[in-house]
Homo-oligomer: 234 residues x 2
């Protein structure tokens, strides 16, 4: 079996958010689709270990924020590579609550869906939450962020708990290369992001050709926000 | 509720095929995603009225053929707008059978998945088939056909039985416009495809600017293969 075949499936990129009472949490998810149009239902696959999973199980409601292609890696890092058990993800973004009481991200978001869970299917490491869309609206015009765009253009990684994680993803960050000092790439030990001097970090004004050593000490991983000390040579 | 929000969800485009004994059938589907990586499982949403649904229920197995962006509208038309109750869809394409005995399309296909159903979830008009991927391979390099590309670049329509069909889709083909004879657009009553003289049918060598009346009598709808008689003025 060649599991690379799974990489040809296409996805968008979303933030799924839920609540526990007045506490909010959200996470990046790519595995969401519409299942029926009458009534309007969607399904989402969520890892059982994630805090958002616990909140959805408890409250029976969630929202989907559809990310725009211009969503910065810092937003994806906050919601995709950090845990709501460690930080309040919503302290750093603007949002509003919908009818279900769940929050919708208002930055780099094209549309939202407000969802009430109608079915729960245990599929092993993940749960499929089937839900009825009780409200929805378009918030901005633009192209949606696709999973392919996130990987190819943004250089993004797949978290180990994602539904679409494959073992080869782990192997990718273990590859060793002989680089000269100026070309030396560094890997983030938190999220697997690789800083490549050939690319720099244009989102943060770091031009291509900047060696890792010359990055300012205030520079942080564009995916997960880890500091420079968290990086090792590739 | 603004159901246009649902249009911001991203999908690929696939042919899901199954069998009844030695008889094969397949259909276009966009609602497929990976749900877990260990074991490797996917889910597909299939309309209960479709013949492929009956075959999957009976055999408990199916394949997914991942379409390339260069897949022609005739292939999509055959598998997306015709019924296996009327024609043998596999008589016009090259294919091979996999371990489950189900066929995989060998034209304009980037990869295939061979799947054994492990769970079946009734969600109303559709069934969610959760299945374990027992075999998979990459068949060609290239970009996958996305649902957005199908709509925007190929001018494709959404069949009424698709999981992602919305009532607005029906309204789209009902729009009336005052065109001069040379600009007059014609709609296919089978699949909703609109022939626009401004675009022509480049895939079939019909240049832009060709009025509908001047199309050869052998010309057929590029989506579903219907003849000229099935077309009405828009």
């Amino acid at each position: 079996m060649n599991t690379s075949a799974l990489r040809t499936l296409s996805y968008g990129l979303y933030i799924v958010s839920s609540r526990s009472g007045e506490k909010f949490n959200g996470q990046i998810a790519n595995t969401i689709f519409q299942v029926t149009s009458d009534p309007l239902r969607i399904v989402a696959s969520i890892n059982k270990e994630n805090l958002t999973h616990a909140y959805i199980e408890e409250s029976g409601v969630f929202t989907v924020s559809v990310l725009a292609a211009d969503a910065p890696m810092t937003l994806i890092g906050t919601f995709g590579f950090k845990s709501g058990r460690d930080i309040d993800k919503f302290s750093s973004v603007s949002y509003r609550t919908e009818g279900t009481g769940c929050p919708v991200i208002l930055e780099h978001t094209l549309a939202f869906l407000d969802v009430t869970v109608t079915d729960t299917i245990d599929v092993g490491t993940h749960t499929l939450f089937v839900g009825e869309v009780t409200d929805a609206d378009v918030l901005a015009e633009g192209d949606p962020m696709t999973y392919a765009y996130y990987h190819q253009v943004k250089g993004g990684k797949t978290p180990a708990k994602a539904a679409t994680f494959l073992q080869e993803d782990a192997g990718r960050t273990e590859r060793k290369e002989k680089d000269t000092a100026a070309q030396q790439r560094y890997v983030c030990n938190v999220c697997g992001y690789i800083y490549d001097p050939a690319t720099g970090d244009p989102d943060e004004g770091v031009p291509a050709g900047t060696p890792f050593e010359e990055l300012p000490e205030t520079w942080v991983c564009p995916v997960c926000g880890a500091s420079k000390e968290e990086f090792d040579k590739v």
